[in-house]
């Protein structure tokens, strides 16, 4: 709660800062397989949190849930205190969904009443109005059962990946997914897509908004390339960049959307020790200079232990340990998960 004062705070326990992202009981089933089981955790603002675990532990699945690529079977993600559901549907449709059953009840009531009007219309109307009031009250008190049904049926899906980006989360991929036949600068410009406003008309007639935006964004795009160490490679096709540079370009592309939270999926995979240490330094820089919170999936323990404020360990889809790197490293469950029972004893 009081972490704000300790700005330099390399030693601040990151748990003090308010959570920028909160996962609540996230479960994902693929048919019979439970990839992620009831995972809850917080990412404190301004921290670097690592998610580790053996292969197949559900790290990437969980990552994809946050990024909006996969809908969780249960649970939800909230970011900056706001639950991540597809806003476009929710904002205008939700009141209707809440009211709909009440209206249906009332119509059915009146219908029944008029059919059996010998009973007396006023009795039926009275019953319908009562039903309406009761269902309205229950709807206000808590999201009713049918809303949960609708979520299950996919009406309120989680936010789509592009909406997730708009809210300030951007990501890189485990196996590099650059736009291979676009130049480095174009890749970064695509990363800025959500921040740009020029529409069809602006671009077709080269209106001021388009012209201003293009020059500004190209300028900024070059700065992002320089920031990750790719200055002068603007016009190189992504496919022709060396492996390490492609990883860097992916980070530049992700940063270009001005995220508050950066999701990095094994960013140092396949790199040599020198490249890895450069990369690790870059993470620290991104956090300290840009104030961006980082969630990291990583196998290389030197990276994880060196840079993380907190570490969460997943195994078979469940959280088995959580805490500072030192605490996690000493946890026998973690050692067992990685090296087997023998190693733990």
């Amino acid at each position: 709660m009081t972490a704000g004062t300790d700005v330099a705070g390399t030693t601040t326990s990151a748990g003090d800062a308010p959570a920028i992202l909160h996962a609540e009981g996230v479960t994902k089933r693929f048919g019979g397989l439970v990839a992620v089981r009831n995972v809850s955790f917080d990412i404190p603002e301004g921290s670097i949190v690592s998610l580790i675990g053996p292969n197949g532990a559900g790290k990437t699945t969980f990552f994809n849930v946050i990024a909006g690529l996969i809908d969780p079977s249960e649970g939800f993600i909230s970011f900056l205190g706001e639950r991540m559901v597809a806003r476009s549907v929710r904002a205008w449709a939700e009141p209707f969904f809440w009211l709909a059953p009440s209206v249906v009840a009332a119509v059915v009531g009146i219908g029944l009443g008029s059919v059996g009007s010998r009973v007396g219309l006023d009795v039926a109307v009275l019953a319908a109005v009562l039903l309406l009031i009761v269902s309205l009250l229950t709807a206000i008190v808590r999201p009713p059962w049918y809303v949960r049904l609708l979520i299950r049926a996919g009406v309120f899906r989680s936010a789509k990946p592009n909406e997730v980006v708009n809210r300030g989360i951007s990501r890189t991929f485990q196996n590099i997914r650059l736009f291979q036949n676009m130049t480095a600068l174009e890749n970064v410009l695509v990363g800025m897509h959500s921040r740009m406003r020029a529409n069809l008309i602006d671009s077709a007639f080269r209106l001021r908004r388009h012209r201003r935006e293009e020059t500004e964004m190209r300028e900024e795009g070059r700065r992002w390339l320089a920031y990750v160490g790719l200055e002068g490679r603007d016009d190189a096709l992504a496919r022709n960049l060396p492996y390490g540079d492609q990883r860097r370009l992916e980070i530049a592309r992700a940063l270009a959307s001005h995220p508050r939270l950066l999701l990095l999926d094994e960013p140092t995979a396949g790199m040599n020790p020198v490249e890895t240490s450069h990369m690790t330094a870059l993470f620290g820089q991104i956090r300290s200079e840009l104030g961006i919170t980082i969630l990291l999936i990583e196998h290389d323990m030197r990276v994880v232990m060196g840079v993380s404020d907190r570490v969460t360990v997943l195994d078979h889809g469940e959280t088995i340990a959580e805490g500072t790197p030192e605490v996690v490293r000493a946890n026998p469950l973690v050692i067992e998960a990685y090296l087997g029972k023998g190693a733990a004893s």
Binding site: N55, F179, V190, L200, F205, R206, L241, Q246, R302
Partner: protein, 396 residues
């Protein structure tokens, strides 16, 4: 030669000027081409093939296919959505004009505003078709668009109470300049007016498409083609972006349809069959997907080969008096062969050869060329080691 040109300061300056003013250079180059083509038609050997007037009329028809190829290029070449029913939008544009300016409905809306209306109506249908296909990819998308392409002419054919069935709609109005440059109705006898009109339309379309290609939206199209998932994860709304590609492609086709209906004065359902979609697609593929100049030249060349080249081949073979071949049971009498009948066979051959020898098309965009000639091993294919060297860091 080029280095000599480049070293000349005036030319260098002119070049950088044109590079900075892209739209102007497009207008100038399309203008130059438009001025040169009729002159080329008067030079041997072309002058021997027919008079200039016929050539110019043929060029105007070729322009319609250039427009079709330009629009299809947005959908297929940029956004990477395989559309096999593209002729449907051509039909919709043509019928839109037929309804608004013919004796059939009794309306007579002028041609020029109807260009925009036709484009708009076609765009709406583009969105209508796009919407259900958004979740589909590759082959599945192609099948659905193929279905749509078949449905539209069939509807125009069978809803005869509204479309006059097989006979189609006749007596469609010509463009009219209302006395500007001393020109009133375009009529049927003067192909020059149509020629310049279609070139004007191509000029503007090319300019707008160039601008779109080099913008936020154009980059989003290419990003979706390259990697849809990554594009979505970068904040691109893939739904609206794909719909926009469909709409832009369809509207260009609608423009072409309005012009075509007006030039021919007649629309019938059989003008918009699968062969049109297929022809437009092969123009895009042969010309070079994703490259605006490439597909335009591809469309023009293919149209001219189809309408002039094959006819001249007939003449050539017949005048050459080749000896009759006897290959066992088969006898080839060159004098009776009509190459026009083998048009689609030749298409097929050209496409197969092209895919084998030059899959990126005659005039590829730089991206496509890179994509289809992967000589160097992709760096990203190196498998990342699953667990880094120091899997558990310190002492366990």
């Amino acid at each position: 030669m080029t280095s000599m040109l480049a070293s000349n300061p005036t030319i260098r300056e002119a070049r950088s000027f044109l590079r900075r003013h892209q739209s102007l250079s497009i207008l100038i180059s399309v203008g130059i081409i438009a001025a040169l083509l009729p002159i080329v038609a008067t030079v041997p050997p072309f002058s021997g093939f027919g008079n200039q007037r016929d050539f110019v009329g043929g060029f105007a028809d070729a322009g319609v296919f250039v427009l079709l190829a330009l629009g299809l290029n947005v959908v297929v070449g940029l956004a990477g959505l395989l559309d096999l029913g593209y002729a449907a939008f051509f039909a919709i544009g043509a019928y839109t004009f037929a309804y608004s300016a013919s004796g059939y409905t009794g309306l007579d809306v002028p041609f020029w505003p109807m260009l925009l209306v036709g484009a708009f109506v076609a765009a709406m249908f583009g969105i209508l078709l796009g919407a259900p296909t958004l979740r589909l990819r590759g082959d599945y998308l192609a099948i659905v668009t193929l279905g749509f392409g078949e449905i539209v002419p069939v509807v125009f054919l069978n809803a005869s109470a509204f479309t006059n069935g097989t006979n189609g709609i006749t007596g469609i109005s010509q463009p009219n300049l209302y006395g500007l440059f001393g020109i009133h109705g375009f009529g049927f006898t003067n192909p020059w007016l149509y020629y310049f009109t279609v070139f004007g339309i191509i000029m503007l379309t090319t300019m707008i498409l160039y601008r779109l290609q080099d913008s936020r939206i154009g980059r989003a199209w290419v990003a979706i083609r390259e990697d849809e998932l990554a594009a979505a994860s970068m904040g691109i709304n893939t739904v609206t972006t794909k719909l926009l590609a469909f709409a832009i492609g369809a509207s260009t086709s609608g423009l072409a349809g309005v012009f075509y209906a007006s030039k021919l004065a007649t629309v019938t359902p059989d003008q918009f069959g699968f062969t049109v979609s297929f022809t437009a697609l092969s123009m895009v593929v042969l010309g070079g997907m994703g490259n605006i100049w490439g597909v335009s030249v591809g469309a023009f060349v293919i149209y001219e080969i189809q309408s002039q080249g094959l006819k001249q081949l007939n003449n050539l073979v017949q005048t050459a008096r080749l000896p009759t071949l006897h290959l066992g049971p088969v006898t080839i009498d060159w004098a009776t062969i009509n190459f026009l009948n083998y048009q689609y066979l030749l298409y097929g051959l050209a496409l197969v050869l092209m895919m084998l020898l030059r899959p990126e098309g005659l005039f590829p965009s730089r991206r496509r060329r890179e994509e289809l000639h992967e000589v160097d091993i992709e760096p990203s294919e190196i498998e990342p080691s699953e667990i880094g060297p120091g899997a558990l860091g310190g002492e366990p």
